[in-house]
Symmetry: C2
């Protein structure tokens, strides 16, 4: 039978990272391609303890039964406190929705707002899975210029007006893929500008807790006076990606619409997952664990920066992030990293091609390098392999 | 700020059952409204044992890390065996997708196939959340007549042609809301007819394992020769709804498209949830546990049928299901069960209004009664309250 898929899905293929994830089941390949947290930073013993306690609780049958779509009330209460660490004060139950990972929050926000043809502004470059997701709602992504301070405000305003933009998506802290952080002033200005034009903002925040240097910056949501910003935070990078939990914070009407969208998608986040994250937060495990984790991430990032300086061709320019998981680098334009990729795999090292992060598919001379997953020895060896390879390519 | 929601969501409100679920946090209300499995049938001790074993496994860090979108390979292998119990033989890894509950499977199938305006045929009445979900993809549901044997084949063929129908959705075993089961001949005929016209079928199967009388009937999918049937099975009613696991079985191209859709929705089903269901199946807990559960469900159903005969007005007609969770009943047309509902709540008893199950919103004289959640004493008391109430209404 000939299968006729929907318009939204007919041209959808798997995201590059997910496909590479499959490839990386080969343990010989040193991968800078994924976005996995360091395995040694996952709180294995804490989660075991919590899981055993959940099982021993008289409340355990409740964990097996259906739950509310918005999440366990006590978990949502805890989340209201949790988001204060991002500078968001005064959130109440009606402002928070438990989500099955940050990805689901983005999906539900798009579902609630985007009609086919609506323009969504994104920082250029941006999170590749967002581009795919926007595609699945037939939204049209347009890139906004960025500078060291954050988004270029003139370009943002111009494009809001030019495209009558419906939405802005950004990762203001340790952006994926660049690792950059928007300044406080830039955040304030974006919040004001989008409010002025009635643009919905998805502020995606999976990485802000992974700061190993520089100063804390409050969430853009903390400068939101009209309720146009949806803040999406994930526990994947700081507790466990396999547990699939996160939180969306927004105006009650928006959260309610996203909750209705979630009813259709998965009814509710699995109770065991919710309870694990809830107990982890409530018991105060996060702060001490983060202190250890950011030390490890800082060391790994330093190892990668050092290896880049030592092995990569001098024409290679890259970012120097204060946190998060990624370094973003640029080769001279003659290099096409998509073409080089199979050779990198043959040398047992992987990166992500920059073009997947650009709204217009440009950027074939950029790569994103993840430093969280490999250990420091592997980081040095992997960067050496890449350096040798790209030096050869530049000499061709 | 004025919020302009998407076309797909602007008229979406919560499903009736989910909203009533909130109401039922009041423990004084005897609820026949939900679709919760009996709390005493949830395998609490088994799941505790499994969870503790997962935590103690040297493989545990893998549970915390990201997983593949399609699910753990060993779980998918186990699922290929599992669906043989529904008469589906020869499934391989590429035919199965782990889903976060049956609801997600339906959502992903709609996402893969339905464009705004596409017609989806449904049995009239059908699962209310399906009608909502179809709405969220701007699909148009049209009811197909049913008889004691299953779907009316003439009406089905006529409507496939009349509407150039893209899809058929049905719950062939212990249908929600009617509790009815399609005959083997009817299943075969539906599989052939839909294949002939290239109609995609979603065969939703949450209940077939809960058979307390009558003979086993293989899934419609087992008669699928062209790959047009997507079989969706859930573990919510037989292991745990709070664990949110299920499986979709279909042609590799369809499963692949649904997998890509799932990447956007939640990346993957939480690993702990997957491992719990996997171990439960692998250890062979299901068959002996089901033997006990169906006895309990059979007793509860018998208690409800008996109470109906004793207390409900003689004008009330209802089904006599061989399994599943629901009895479906009809009052004379002068009764409007939507109007009566607040009075039922005042008397501390709840049902679901029939109209939410009809594609055209008719059916205000029907009610769905769930017998799985309440105990047999509460069933008698609740039906007595309903009987008294509706007798009064009929006498008005």
């Amino acid at each position: 039978m000939e299968l006729i898929f929907s318009e939204r899905m007919k041209n959808m293929n798997g995201t590059a990272t997910r496909e590479i994830f499959k490839l990386l089941s080969n343990p010989e390949i040193i991968s800078f391609a994924g976005g996995n947290p360091a395995i040694e930073c996952l709180p294995t013993e804490r989660v075991k303890l919590i899981a055993n306690d959940i099982c021993a609780s008289p409340d355990f049958p409740r964990v097996l039964q259906y739950g509310l779509t918005a999440g366990f009330p006590e978990f949502r209460q805890e989340l209201c406190k949790y988001v204060e660490t991002a500078g968001i004060y005064g959130a109440e139950m009606q402002n928070v929705l438990v989500i099955s990972g940050g990805q689901q929050g983005i999906d539900l926000a798009l579902k609630a707002f985007i009609n086919p043809g609506d323009v969504i502004l994104v920082e250029d470059p941006t999170y590749l899975a967002f581009l795919q997701l926007a595609n699945s709602y037939e939204g049209v992504c347009k890139g906004v210029k960025a500078n060291d301070d954050g988004l270029d405000l003139n370009d943002l305003e111009e494009k809001i007006k030019k495209y009558n933009a419906k939405m802005l998506y950004c990762v203001p802290t340790f952006s994926n893929p660049t690792g950059k952080t928007y300044s406080v002033e830039n955040r304030k200005a974006i919040a004001e500008l989008t409010a002025k034009y009635g643009v919905i903002v998805i502020e995606d925040d999976p990485y802000s807790k992974l700061r190993f240097k520089g100063e804390y910056v409050p969430a853009m949501k903390s400068f939101d006076k009209t309720g146009n910003v949806i803040f999406i935070s994930s526990f994947s990078k700081i507790i466990s990606p396999g547990n699939r939990t996160g939180v969306a914070v927004g105006a009650p009407e928006i959260i309610r619409k996203m909750e209705i969208g979630k009813q259709g998608t998965d009814l509710h986040t699995p109770n065991f997952s919710q309870m694990i994250t809830y107990e982890y937060l409530k018991r105060g495990y996060l702060a001490p664990d983060l202190e250890k984790s950011v030390k490890i991430y800082g060391d790994k990032k330093a190892a990668m920066s050092k290896a880049i300086a030592k092995y990569m061709p001098e024409e290679f320019e890259c970012t120097d992030p204060d946190g998060g998981l990624f370094i973003w680098g640029r080769f001279p334009e003659k290099i096409d990293v998509v073409k080089v990729f199979p050779e990198a795999i043959a040398r047992k090292v992987a990166y992500i091609q920059g073009c997947v992060f650009f709204a217009d598919g440009s950027g074939n001379n950029y790569i994103r390098l993840n430093y969280s997953y490999a250990n420091t020895d592997m980081i040095e060896e992997g960067i050496k392999r890449l350096g040798d390879l790209f030096k050869e390519k530049l000499a061709e």
